[in-house]
Every structure is written in structure tokens, then in C-alpha cells.
Symmetry: C2
Subunit: 369 residues, 2 copies
């Protein structure tokens, strides 16, 4: 094997591929990246059995071949290269991959390519096309709401729901829920599946926020879901099981409708969160009255913190408490200058939305204090 | 107690004072900052019994008084304040300190000021005046060489040596040694003492690198050393014991004299260090021959890394190995475009200096590989 490539192409490829390199591998081979030089292209693969990634970059291949080297170390050394091009070869010895760039030489001990579990490209039963920018938004606005622990695996992924020309993503941990939807260019037969949050974070990471031209093709097989970009292919297991009927937790009516400035709300929550984190349930109190939202938190051992912000309140006065992270998380993904908050009483879920955007809904269950 | 002050003054004061707030306090009071409002000034104190710090800032004091609040929390909340001024009061209750700024209110539970161990201002036997900039340089270029472990306490501090109008700082861990000297404006009687590295890092942190006008007064008492700036007073214990005669480890003659570009050397060491860290003793090999310095490292499990740089070599060829951190650390504090390396053989200490600067000397003992 011998080839040369642009350092920048390689750096970008490694940033994507590293996300499926196992951190605590069951066997050493899973800590590796599979490299295959063929037909003026380098194929890189990583596979942790939950997600598999294939990236292709153009190379000047003098001699074809394949090998496996430690992923984290390869990335570290490539990041320290400062020359425009990098040359790889295993001519001298099959056990060492030699990497040279601008006078910097590193030889890495290789693993056997035949031992590497190649990423499967499953036969897909159905496929859906969506703008990369739209998919990125769907993931960003929902994935943070998944369950952090594995006690109910179905809640560790995002539920994809395709109905006609509408694709929705839903994430919940049973105490909060985030839904976002996008319109597709075509109509599709109804389809739904749950994709691991970690895969989706990798997909989101792959998409340049400035990319407004490209599309991604999502392929559905019985146990797998695939994401196909221009030069990146991601194959992920689907989380098996039934996603609960999420519509039921969204209240139909609200007694109180509030609108606040998003930045004011964010700054106030950031401040009071310093006290909330000192409380047992990370509690923050929201008191809605007299055209003001008073945000406060009290820790018996430390003291209390308060900040009031202007609020346009229609309906009943409400005092309600939340886990402060449930509020801080949603403010981060609100893209509008103002945020709507709809409430009933201190025992009922509250709804957070963006004005004039019916696609995005966030529901938070209060802390009973 | 009631006073107002500028948020920026308070932020700067807290950045200095926090360095002597105990991280794992023996008693809760040591995690606190003592505040005393008096005569239009606020005095802040922290004390971890190794170092004590006093900072004064101007305030608008409506009512004098003193209190103690948790240091880390006070700093966190003040950092989140965005208004120009901050108002403190304990009018409502002696047990709570109320802090208000731009609509953000926090009340912190206080501790008893009479329980706080006030920072002592010892009677000093002698004192020395040095430009803040010169002191900062002395500390920066030596303190990294102290011992990281406590097995020989005398090596966990910098040795100060005042002879006539010359002040030298010396740091060693028995395997490496850094010395820097500065000229003072006056002549002083000979004096020497060892100051904890942690205190000196705090002193260095206090000094704005752009400060070229001000002086610091260093006071020596039998068991204490004090550093007096305009509005900051630092009192530190002296490390007791005898500092070994360090001159003996500096070779008088060298068989090989080398000069290399500092940036080239730094970049090459950074690259090869990725392999060195995978070796048992973090070993890096330096081979000096044919007007080149070849820097390399080899790990039996991972592979090897090499980078050659141009070198002006006079004298014998040498192959020598070091702990890579011993080299990386000194390159960081070399201020000249080139660095001199003087060597004898692979068993003998090497000397690193700045061209045309006789004040700075760094000695590194090789790894016997």
C-alpha cells in the first residue's frame, strides 16, 4: 500500500470516522481504523457494532492495499502534521504503516485487516431524502431530551416518524419530550423507527451548519438505518421495541400563556442555576405574575438566588418548579428572539414553543416541591 | 455591613484571593473569604495556612462590618453579574449576605468572622524591592522545575538567593535544575530562603504581564515571606530545611555545543512527544550529528516517530535520551529565537541556555536507556 493525500481531507475524514472508534473496545481491533487504498480513493472505516462509518477521500494511490491502525493515535499524529500533503506506505514491512509529512515521520504498528469487522451496507427496504440542513436542525432540537441511562433502551434514541411528506423526530426520557418536524420534497409511505442518540450526534457532527445545498439519503432496513452523504456512509442499529404514544403527554389546553425574551430568560436561568445545582433535585422556581417571571432557587445550606424578567402573561398566575437543566437545555436550541411558555398549574406539564413555528414542541414535567 | 463596588474591581480581587481558598478544607471556614468593609475600602482575605492573601478594593461603604462567605460560590455568582456595580448588605439578617446587581439577587449563608484565621502581617527582618515584571520572569522560568511530590519538601519550592544587587531563583527535583537571576536597584545583605511553588504561582498570576512600572516589596521574617503589591498582600510560610549546593550539578565544560531554532525544536518535540508518552519513561532520543538534530521516540507496542531539524553543532557527535517533559517544559519558557544546548556524553547532564543571556541556566539529567 502506498498513497498520498491532502492533510485537510484526512483531518476531516478522521473527525467523522473517530466517532465510531470504540473507546473501551471489547477487542483491540475495534480501537482501530480500517484503511483501504483502491482506485485513487482511500476508504476509512470504523465500527463499534452500534454504529459503523465509512468515509472516502481522494488520494494519489501508487499501490493498492489495506491495513488497520489505532484510531486515536492516527488522529493525534495527523493533527500534528503541518505540511499540505501526507504520504502513507507499508512497503518496508507489512507490520508497520509509515506516515510521512514535511519531515515528520511516524511508523505505527498495524493490526490485521482481515480481523476488522467491515461495515455492512444492508439492503434497504425504503429510503427517504432530506436536506442535510433540515436533518441537522431536527436532531439538534430533540436529541438532548433522550434518557441518559439505559434502564429503558427505547428512550435512549430519537423516534423517526415519516408520514407523507413530513418527517418528525421525537425524544423523551418520560419526564420531558421534544418534537420537531420538517417537510420533505416527496411523499413517502408511513414508516417509523428509533435511532440511537449517539449515532445522531455523529450524523449532526458530520453536517457543516453552513451546508445548505446538499441532501442526505436515509435508508431503512429491518434492523438497520443508514445515512448516506456524498462521501460518508453511516450504518446504525435500530433500537428495538415500541416507542410509547407521545401525543398523550401534550396537554390540549392551557390556562396561562406567557411570552418572554429568549436572551433574558437564558441569562436569568444561567444565574439562578448556580444555586439550583446546590439543591437535591436541581430545582428552579418559576413564578408568573404581574407581567413578570421571577426565577429563583433556594438551598438550605447555601442561600438563595433570584432574577426577575419581563413577561407577557395572559391567564392565571402560576408558581411552578422544574429541574433547571430541563429549562436550560431547551433555551439553548430555541432559535427565535422570544419563547412561548404555556402552563396549567404547578402539577401539570408546561409547553415551550417558538412563536409562529408549529413544528417545534417541548414539554417539561414539573418537580413537585 | 453595606457597600457598593465596581464589579470589575471585585472580579479581579476574587481571581487573586481565590488562590488561597482551601480546596479540601480541614474546617468549613477555610473554604470562605473574609470580607471587611471599613473606611471606603473592602478588605478581602483568604488563608489556607500555607498562604494567606489580603486584597483591598475601593468601595462606597454605607455601613461598616465584617463577614465570611463561601469563596468558590461567591466568585461563581459575581462572575454571572453583568451590571457595572454590585451592592452587598447584611442589614436584613446577620446570617445572610445579600448581593444585588442589575436585578440579580443572591443571598449567601455566612460564617462567623471571628472564626476566620486572619492573615498575619509578620514583622519582617529584611526587605527587598524588585520590579514586578522581573519577579514574574524569575518565577516563570524556574518554578516548573520543582518536584511534583512531597518526598523531599525542600524541592517543592524555589530557592531565593539575594547577593548584593542580584536576586536568583533556583528550582530542582534532583533530576533537573532551573536558575534565573535579575539585577536589583539596591545592594542588600546576603539572604536566602525557600518559598512554596504554589505561593509563587499565585504571585506570578497576580502580576499582569504588561505591568512594567510597578514594584513588589518582598519581606523576610524567620518563618514567613511576604509579597506586598499596591493593593495585594501575600503572606507565605517558608519551607524549612537546607537547599542543597546546586552549583555542583552544573558541568564546567562541554564537549559539544549546539544551537537550534526554538520554534523548530518545539514543533519537533511536540510531535515526537505523542510517541514518548506511550513509553515507560516518556523517553525522547536526541541524536546530534551532521548539522542535524534527529528527535525520535520508539514504543514497542505502538511504533516510532521521528523528526529532524537543522542544528549548528560544534564538537563531538552525541546520542542522548531524556524524559520528553524535561525538554518540552524548558522550551516553553525560552524567550529567544534560538536555544543553546551543551552536552558531554549520553550519561552526563545537558545544559540549555538562551544565547547572550548568562542569567538563565537549565540542566537536565538524561534517561539511561
Amino acid at each position: 500500500m502506498k498513497f498520498s493525500c491532502y492533510k485537510n481531507d484526512l483531518t476531516e475524514a478522521l473527525q467523522v470516522i473517530i466517532r465510531a472508534v470504540a473507546v473501551k473496545p471489547m477487542t483491540p481491533i475495534l480501537s482501530g481504523i480500517y484503511l483501504k487504498a483502491e482506485n485513487s480513493a482511500l476508504e476509512l472505516q470504523s465500527n463499534n457494532f452500534s454504529t459503523g462509518i465509512i468515509v472516502r477521500i481522494p488520494v494519489n494511490a501508487e499501490q493498492e492495499g489495506e491495513t488497520v491502525v489505532g484510531g486515536k493515535r492516527l488522529q493525534e499524529f495527523i493533527n500534528k502534521m503541518t505540511d499540505e500533503t501526507v504520504t502513507f506506505s507499508d512497503e518496508d514491512s507489512g507490520d508497520l504503516l509509515s506516515i510521512k509529512s514535511g519531515g515528520k515521520n511516524v511508523s505505527l504498528i498495524t493490526m490485521k485487516p482481515e480481523d476488522f469487522p467491515k461495515v455492512k451496507i444492508p439492503e434497504t427496504e425504503r429510503s427517504f431524502k432530506i436536506a442535510t440542513k433540515a436533518l441537522r436542525k431536527l436532531i439538534r432540537k430533540t436529541v438532548f431530551a433522550v434518557a441518559k441511562d439505559d434502564s429503558r433502551p427505547i428512550f435512549t434514541g430519537c423516534y423517526f416518524e415519516i408520514k407523507g411528506n413530513k418527517m418528525s423526530l421525537v425524544a423523551t426520557n418520560a419526564h420531558r419530550l421534544a418534537i420537531d418536524s420538517a417537510t420533505l420534497q416527496h411523499n413517502y409511505t408511513d414508516c417509523s423507527f428509533v435511532v440511537p442518540a449517539e449515532t445522531l450526534r455523529g450524523v449532526m457532527f458530520r453536517i457543516d451548519p453552513k451546508d445548505i445545498e446538499n441532501y442526505v439519503k436515509i435508508g431503512y432496513a429491518t434492523r438497520y438505518i443508514t445515512f448516506k452523504f456524498d462521501n460518508v456512509f453511516i450504518n446504525s442499529r435500530i433500537i428495538e421495541g415500541e416507542f410509547p404514544p407521545y401525543d398523550r403527554v401534550i396537554p390540549k389546553e392551557f390556562a396561562t400563556n406567557v411570552r418572554v425574551d429568549t436572551n433574558d430568560f437564558k441569562e436569568a436561568i444561567d444565574f439562578v442555576a448556580l444555586m439550583s445545582k446546590e439543591t437535591e433535585y436541581h430545582t428552579v422556581k418559576l413564578n408568573f405574575r404581574d407581567n413578570a417571571l421571577e426565577i429563583s432557587s433556594n438551598s438550605p445550606d447555601i442561600g438563595d438566588a433570584t432574577k426577575s424578567i419581563e413577561a407577557d402573561i395572559r391567564g392565571d398566575e402560576v408558581d411552578i418548579s422544574f429541574n433547571v437543566n430541563y429549562i436550560a437545555d431547551v433555551i439553548k436550541v430555541i432559535d427565535t428572539d422570544q419563547v412561548n411558555i404555556e402552563l396549567n398549574d404547578r402539577f401539570s406539564p408546561a409547553k415551550f414553543t417558538e412563536p409562529e413555528n408549529e413544528n417545534y414542541v417541548y414539554i417539561a414535567t414539573p418537580v413537585r416541591s
